[in-house]
Symmetry: C3
Subunit: 132 residues, 3 copies
Amino acid sequence: MLYTYHLKTPPEGFLSITAQVKGAVAESGVQSGICVVFCPHTTAGITINENADPDVQTDLLLAYRAAFPDCAAFRHCEGNSAAHAKASAMGSSATVIIENGILLLGTWQGIYFCEFDGPRNRTFYVKIIEAR
Amino acid sequence: MLYTYHLKTPPEGFLSITAQVKGAVAESGVQSGICVVFCPHTTAGITINENADPDVQTDLLLAYRAAFPDCAAFRHCEGNSAAHAKASAMGSSATVIIENGILLLGTWQGIYFCEFDGPRNRTFYVKIIEAR
Amino acid sequence: MLYTYHLKTPPEGFLSITAQVKGAVAESGVQSGICVVFCPHTTAGITINENADPDVQTDLLLAYRAAFPDCAAFRHCEGNSAAHAKASAMGSSATVIIENGILLLGTWQGIYFCEFDGPRNRTFYVKIIEAR
């Protein structure tokens, strides 16, 4: 059970993909297990964070820009080394528990595709592993 | 096999949850597989780090405060945007291998619940997936 | 299906372990599932990032040094607290999807062992979980 999704991203930003992941879990029919949400790109990542106030996503971008600023010593010729660093700090995947057929997310949690070097056409995968 | 645990946390800090996770694995009887430790909160996370010298946990807090400081430009009205950023950098879960019925942790590794916006009553889950 | 690998690391740096992980997947014969690449150390981690231009790895080291600098207030007597912080930011594992018998990595993605406190003899594990 592998599900593939495509996104058009802004230059930078957090796109909610919770609905797609919930849809994959529902379609799979799996009642108990885990799902792995995987980003196959190197200047984007996956995170789980607040789903209520969109200011949190704006602030996350600010916080990550401050933690991983552009640097004169960077050598990678594409000029997007900070985006690579942000992607590694976020991580390229999130693993979520499936219980009673639904994602075991907290009340305020959503799953986000994190674009650090857009705009681009991006892809992500959802793989579902059923528990015995 | 889903296990749920509750914690009372300090304002900020790393709480060892290794014993709970080991207990879940033992109770499950699973000999080979993985376990996913999941935090359903957005200003807390899960990490694996040194279990011996408690100064490491103190220093981790200092290092994360320096990397993700409060910022005048933050817009989220709850004032805890830095905690949200720290949570995403830590990650909301850890995945550990189970082999011969026990957690395959390194000698110096412990599993920690990372509180960045306490004190609160918090929850975490342990989901065990058996390998075939 | 657990695979164990050993590495000799430089003082700091990103070592590609993609070939070893691909080899484990091939040897397992698993067609569909996930694999967990796990680092049992507390001053090293695992990440997925660019496999083409080695300057990206150099820049990642610079970016992580800037985000997590040494700090006079650190108390851990071994003097490697920044390395512990970097390890937690990277994460101690990566989870990758297996589909049609191969790792579902993006074109530019490689899997890296991240050494932040070498040189050392290090170990990592690959655990493969087959989907039903």
